[in-house]
């Protein structure tokens, strides 16, 4: 599990002042987890490392934009990695996902998504609220969030019509947010 967010916020504030040691400390602490988050989406170790590399360079340049009063520092850092990984995944020139994907790779994504859900703490409201969804809605939402699939890819993975998958995700995310609020 990641460290406390206020520790991350302190490091980011130091990074914003140009403190290279703070960047190194954050890297030593979080690089492994962030590579794992990126790999769930881009599926390749070299691309996952590239995502994390670029994210830390961006962090070095943009740490001053983090506003501790507005957001969670761990979430901010993870969002930088997630967005870069999603951009890479959607950038067809870098990823040959559709042609190169195999049944095994689809299975890997599905098991990553399931494992992420199973690993959530039992007391986490997200776990109980996701647990209340129909299984297919839950799986669709997890495939999107955890592994970066889009509607069409989820439809292919779950072997369901595209329109149905869109409806599952719409109703599922609405129900999830109602449950969490």
């Amino acid at each position: 599990m990641p460290p406390e967010s206020h520790e991350t916020a302190t490091l980011i504030e130091r990074i914003a002042t140009g403190d290279r040691f703070a960047l190194a400390e954050l890297f030593d602490r979080d690089a492994g987890r962030l590579v794992a988050v990126a790999r769930r989406i881009v599926r390749r170790q070299d691309l996952a490392e590239e995502v994390v590399q670029d994210a830390f360079v961006a962090l070095w340049q943009r740490a001053g934009q983090f506003d501790a009063s507005r957001g969670n520092a761990n979430g901010w850092l993870t969002t930088i990695v997630r967005n870069r990984a999603l951009n890479l995944l959607r950038d067809g020139s870098r990823m040959d996902y559709h042609d190169g994907d195999t049944l095994a790779a689809i299975g890997d994504r599905a098991s990553d998504a399931t494992a992420a859900f199973d690993t959530l703490a039992e007391r986490d409201a997200l776990k109980s609220c996701l647990g209340q969804l129909d299984e297919l809605k839950r799986r669709a939402i997890l495939l999107c969030y955890v592994t970066g699939l889009n509607h069409g890819e989820v439809a292919a993975t779950l072997n369901a019509p595209l329109g149905t998958v869109k409806a599952w995700i719409r109703r599922g995310t609405i129900a999830l947010q109602e449950c969490l609020s």
Binding site: M1, P2, A24, A31, G32, R33, V35, A36, V37, R39, R40, Q45, A48, E49, V52, Q53, D54, F56, V57, A58, W60, Q61, R62, Q65, N74, G75, T78, I80, R82, N83, R84, L86, N87, L88, R90, D91, G92, A115, A116, T119, L120, A121, A125, L126, I141, C144, Y145, V146, G148, N150, H151, I169, R170, T173, I174, L176, Q177, E178, L180, S181
Partner: protein, 234 residues
């Protein structure tokens, strides 16, 4: 939009289901809709627990030194001439991109006039330009019927010595990209653009990094720093 529509849209945004353009539109919309913005922030905060479940992965021993090299490395501008298309592919942020605020403010010569002196006519379209690094909003561009555009920076970035930030728009694919002006550092200002057709819904605006005093070819040659698609205000 009904409350359910907003919840569904916030869900699509957090799940990463919006394409680049829809994501830009979402960010524009959520800036003026506090409820929508709060929905997305709340869901993103909750879903982050799923990222926290990732067991740390092994990584190459030289990953840290690669990061240090990128941070310390000299600028290596990409001089390859590109043709801007209506929907350019996602470009990854060059690692050398300098986003540090600079104290010195200087303007590119010739392009600027009438800074903020005009009446409050309503812009024809507004574009939020997103940072290529993380899709965070970086600049608002308001385009007016008299060909002028107003830049409102949301974050500071500066061109390194010998380079400029060049503002472009793509009125249509046949015309190709048109320069609206250059600057060395982001600031709130108004540019008198060249005579162009009235800006339209979905028109692309972007800023690239170019050698001073501006692109040598009259087309974007450097990396895209920020870009966005315009929408008419309601």
């Amino acid at each position: 939009m009904t409350r359910e529509d907003k919840l569904a849209l916030a869900g699509d945004y957090v799940l990463g289901l919006l394409d680049e353009r829809a994501r830009a539109e979402f960010l524009v919309l959520s800036e003026s809709d506090a409820e929508l913005k709060a929905m997305a922030a709340q869901l993103a905060g909750r879903m982050a627990a799923l990222d926290a479940t990732a067991a740390p992965a092994a990584y190459s021993a030289d990953l840290w030194s690669r990061i240090e090299q990128k941070i310390d490395g000299p600028a290596e501008p990409n001089r390859t001439i590109r043709t801007m298309t209506a929907r350019p592919p996602v470009r990854r942020l060059p690692a050398w991109l300098p986003l540090a605020a600079s104290v010195v403010i200087a303007l590119g010569a010739g392009y600027f006039g009438g800074l903020m002196s005009r009446g409050d006519s309503k812009p024809v379209v507004i574009a939020i330009l997103l940072n290529e690094a993380d899709a965070s909003p970086a600049m608002i561009i308001e385009a007016f019927a008299d060909d002028s555009v107003r830049l409102v920076p949301l974050e500071n970035f500066a061109a390194p010595d010998g380079q400029v930030l060049q503002v472009w728009t793509l009125p249509d694919a046949d015309t190709g990209p048109v320069s609206l002006g250059t600057l060395t550092q982001t600031q709130d200002l108004r540019l008198d653009g060249p005579n162009l057709p009235l800006p339209h819904d979905g028109q692309l605006y972007e800023i690239t990094l170019e050698p001073a005093p501006g692109s040598p070819t009259g087309r974007p040659t450097g990396p895209i720093l920020v870009k966005g698609f315009a929408k008419p205000p309601v």
